[in-house]
């Protein structure tokens, strides 16, 4: 009985959520470990949501947004990128390995990129093991 | 094996402490301990912080005297960064320090100490407090509350925050004083000076005359003293000056603050989180033995009054002369702290008025720009409770690498232990004691306003 990581994926409605739909209709398989949360734009993912996920049972978090320049709301994904830098920098402050978090870009017609992104993070986090519960205080 | 009486907590002090009185089989006092209970670690957790943030972090060492830590830290960081505040900036800092001393002394004498004198040390504990004073002397209480509040509001009007201030910044002060503010503050300072004259008269008539035998005896010990004096004429100084360490025989050594580590060491006992400073430069070591104390000196009002040659303001000077006429110099009796606190109250009101009258106080050049750099600085001010020393070392980013803090009240921890022993030993015999007697032992601590 190996460790099965729980991965939370914040998927932007316009690109990655649509890509996930497309992956589904094309019968492409991705790891069952990934739980998708649809957001209207990757830019609305507050760093706190990532930390919340990690402190409430997620072992890894991925944010998937549109390619830069293709955001439905013009510059939402630029905000996501800026916030992502904060998350990456601060994760260690809160006792999490930086590699548990990732941001990636794709378009609605790239289900293969989505599958690869999900697979990669699941395998990476599987090797890292679960978030160390005893490291986190109350 | 005898009993242990635990006075826990010591009440009407600023801090967490308990007294343990160990009785022998005959019920006489074998040993006493003042166990200081609190330890927060400021010297450690300021490491890594940018030095200019320190003055608004270390205020939280004490919510009654936050201005003192604020200013000692500002002075230390000024020194570490090699910057000198412009005259108006320095004036504004000292004015705030004086306002803070005013409210602190009113608080201590009337809210914390007076219940023992106005209601009596043996009064039932449920009335022996400021609420009891309100019931027994409503007009006095109303006036006291109003005066203390006035002082706090003067600080807020000038500096935004009275508790845990922010206006003292590295290089000076954060905002200039306006002329309209100056006029109002002058008027209010005169009101406070009036009240201070009344306070000393009140104390002389209702406290000091009535309790003179208690004053002469309770907790009385013999020690040296530490304070700050003017570099030119040796008069009492609180914001800046030279440090003076006096032996019990009245002989003095003066030193510049940045050499403090040559003169002061800190002894540690495993039964007190509070360390015990002692005079290293006397080369006697450290001992609390009442028959042969070694290295022991006191700080706070009695000490400052003893070490100064004189006071530069007229009413306080007159009060000092009267005091010295009765009690000599240095005066040793512990309960005289209350008397000297009120003499100092006169000084700080008069000095505040003096500074507010200076033309340059409303100058808008209040802060010199600072660049972060590697350095070390020592900043010293006289807090109400004693000589406060902040010592910071910075790296080349201007962040703290090392800190040493000797807080004003800690100089008195050794002496308080001695006073407790003296009081308990003389009051408790044959296992006979009551609640009022235990309160008297506490009074020997309360005088130090720890």
């Amino acid at each position: 009985m190996g460790f099965e990581p729980k991965i939370i994926a914040f998927c932007c409605n316009w690109c990655s959520y649509a890509a996930a739909d497309l992956a589904g209709t094309a019968r492409m398989q991705y790891p069952h470990n990934v739980r998708i949360i649809r957001v209207m734009c990757s830019g609305m993912v507050h760093p706190e949501l990532v930390l919340d996920a990690l402190s409430h049972g997620a072992d890894g978090v991925i944010v998937l947004g549109c390619h830069l320049g293709e955001c439905h709301y013009q510059d939402g994904n630029h905000k996501a990128l800026a916030r992502s830098a904060v998350i990456t920098e601060l994760l260690e402050d809160f006792g999490y390995e930086t590699e548990r978090y990732e941001i990636s870009w794709l378009s609605s017609s790239e289900p293969d990129r989505l599958v690869k992104a999900f697979t990669d993070i699941t395998e990476r986090v599987r090797k890292m093991g679960p978030v160390n519960a005893h490291d986190l205080a109350g | 094996m005898g009993t242990v009486i635990n006075i826990a907590p010591i009440t009407r002090i600023e801090g967490h402490a308990k007294i343990a009185i160990h009785l022998d089989d005959q019920g006489n006092v074998r040993d006493t301990f003042l166990h200081i209970q609190s330890l927060r670690g400021f010297e450690k957790f300021v490491e890594g912080r940018p030095a200019e943030e320190i003055p608004r972090i270390v205020t939280r060492i004490c919510g009654i005297c936050p201005w003192m830590h604020h200013l000692a830290a500002s002075k230390a960081v000024d020194a570490a960064f090699g910057v000198t505040p412009p005259p108006a900036g320095r004036l504004l800092r000292e004015i705030c320090q004086l306002f803070a001393h005013i409210t602190d002394k009113i608080l201590h004498f009337f809210f914390l100490a007076a219940p023992d004198f106005v209601l009596g040390p043996d009064a039932d504990y449920s009335v022996r407090n400021v609420m009891g004073i309100v019931k027994a002397e409503p007009e006095l209480a109303a006036r006291v509350v109003k005066m203390r509040q006035l002082g706090q509001m003067m600080l807020e009007r000038l500096a935004g925050k009275a508790i845990h201030p922010v206006a003292g910044v590295v290089g000076g002060f954060s905002r200039p004083m306006l002329e309209t503010e100056r006029q109002e503050l002058l008027r209010d300072a005169e009101t406070l000076l009036d009240f201070s004259c009344y306070a000393l008269d009140f104390a002389k008539n209702t406290v000091f005359t009535r309790y003179m035998d208690v004053i002469r005896e309770l907790g009385a010990i013999t020690t040296g003293f530490l304070g700050t004096v003017d570099r030119d004429d040796g008069s009492l100084r609180l914001y800046d000056g030279r440090q003076r360490l006096m032996k019990a025989d009245g002989s003095c050594i003066d030193f510049e603050g940045d050499r403090y580590a040559d003169h002061i060491g800190e002894h540690v006992e495993p039964w007190s989180y509070g360390k015990m400073p002692y005079a290293k430069s006397w080369q006697e070591g450290f001992s609390l033995n009442p028959a042969a104390p070694a290295g022991i000196y006191r700080s706070n009002t009695l000490a400052r009054i003893n070490v100064c040659e004189k006071i530069s303001t007229p009413r306080a000077q007159a009060a000092l002369e009267e005091f010295r006429g009765i009690f000599g110099r240095p005066a040793q009796q512990t309960l005289l702290y209350h008397y000297t606190r009120l003499i100092e109250l006169l000084y700080v009101c008069e000095r505040a008025i003096e500074l507010l009258q200076r033309d340059e106080v409303t100058d808008t050049r209040i802060r010199a720009a600072a660049e972060p750099r590697a350095g070390r600085g020592v900043g010293i001010v006289e807090a109400p409770r004693g000589t406060l020393i902040h010592d910071y070392t910075t790296d080349r980013n201007g962040c703290i690498t090392k800190a040493n803090l000797i807080v004003g009240t800690t100089h008195n921890i050794g002496p308080m232990n001695m006073s407790v022993r003296q009081a308990a030993t003389s009051l408790i015999k044959g296992g006979v004691y009551d609640e009022g007697l235990l309160n008297k032992v506490e009074m020997a601590v309360r005088a130090y306003d720890p």
């Binding site: 905000k79 205080a137 | 890594g48 943030e53 407090n129 935004g160 590295v170 006992e269 235990l438």
Partner: protein, 314 residues
């Protein structure tokens, strides 16, 4: 009909207690008519172990309302807090130390053992001293906020808390109603002029004064964040405004977050870094970002820096 009240202080500095005194003239009727103080070490002489000092178990009388200031850092704090919870019907966490750990929770960023040992190894401390451990309460593994240990009925943050809000809360208990407390961020109460943060790309240290005309009201001063200073107004709970505006801004000094996060379970460091990044300001230009948690380092938020084994750095 006065309400029985108890006041305790844990890992505190007494600033909250002075804030109570700063209620002003309303303090007199509050302390003598509306409230009946049955236990309050700073003001009156009720003792833990009996008035003759011969008890063995810490005791505090029953009260309708209890106020606790200070965080929980040693076993005695915990004992006192638990007893206060047991004896007081309504328990109020007073001040940011009680609600979020406060400044003393900066100790949570230190290695536990090295931290305490360092305090007893300063420049002037006699060499060879170890941390005292006789008749003094042993430290816990870190500094906690009160609600991490007991249920708290009401949270009144602030360093210090606003005297007007303390009075409001106490009178609400006396009158049997819900208190009216502010809900938003400090910016909501700040009159400074906003013109857009576009020009700011890095954060400046507060080593020179802000730009303002002394004789002009604060409403004419440009927002301190827009002047390029770190100001934690956006990520700090409102409540400090005493005379119509935030107290530090009144002194022309930027906010450092002393009322704790806007939402009780918020993270001031994360929120501030996020706010900077979202506005195109280089968050890496902040020196010592860990001190953004200086008031809210409890709840497991502030922790010692993990030493990286492979890199060989200390």
């Amino acid at each position: 009909m006065s309400v029985r009240a108890a006041l305790e202080w844990l890992n505190s500095c007494s600033g909250c207690e002075i804030a109570i005194l700063n209620i002003g003239e309303a303090l007199v009727p509050l302390l003598t008519q509306h409230l009946d103080l049955v236990h309050a070490p700073i003001l009156m002489d009720h003792k833990y172990l009996g008035q003759r000092g011969d008890g063995t178990e810490l005791d505090i009388p029953e009260a309708e309302v209890g106020l606790v200031s200070g965080g929980v850092a040693n076993i005695e704090h915990l004992q006192v807090l638990v007893k206060m919870r047991e004896r007081c019907r309504v328990l109020i966490a007073l001040g940011t130390c009680a609600t979020h750990g406060g400044i003393p929770a900066l100790m949570n960023g230190q290695d536990r053992r090295e931290g305490w040992e360092g305090v007893f190894a300063t420049r002037t401390t006699d060499p060879g001293c170890s941390v005292p451990d006789i008749e003094v309460p042993a430290p816990l593994d870190r500094v906690y906020a009160c609600d991490e240990k007991v249920k708290i009925d009401l949270f009144l943050p602030g360093c210090p808390p606003n005297p007007a809000l303390i009075a409001e809360v106490l009178m609400a208990v006396v009158e049997g109603r819900d208190p009216v407390l502010p809900q938003k961020s400090v910016c909501d109460t700040c009159p400074a002029k906003r013109e857009g943060k576009g020009a700011v790309s890095v954060v400046r240290r507060f080593l020179i004064n802000a730009e303002f005309l002394a004789e002009d009201p604060v409403g004419r001063m440009r927002c301190l964040l827009e002047q390029g200073f770190m100001c934690m107004g956006p990520v700090t709970a409102a409540g400090c405004a005493g005379r119509g505006l935030p107290r530090c801004i009144e002194a022309r000094v930027p906010c450092r977050g002393c009322f704790g996060p806007v939402r009780r379970d918020g993270n001031q460091m994360l929120d501030m870094m996020n706010a900077l990044a979202s506005n195109g300001i280089d968050f890496k230009s902040v020196v010592d970002r860990r001190s953004l948690l200086r008031f809210s380092g409890a709840h497991g938020l502030l922790r010692p820096v993990k030493k990286k084994p492979a890199a060989g750095r200390g």
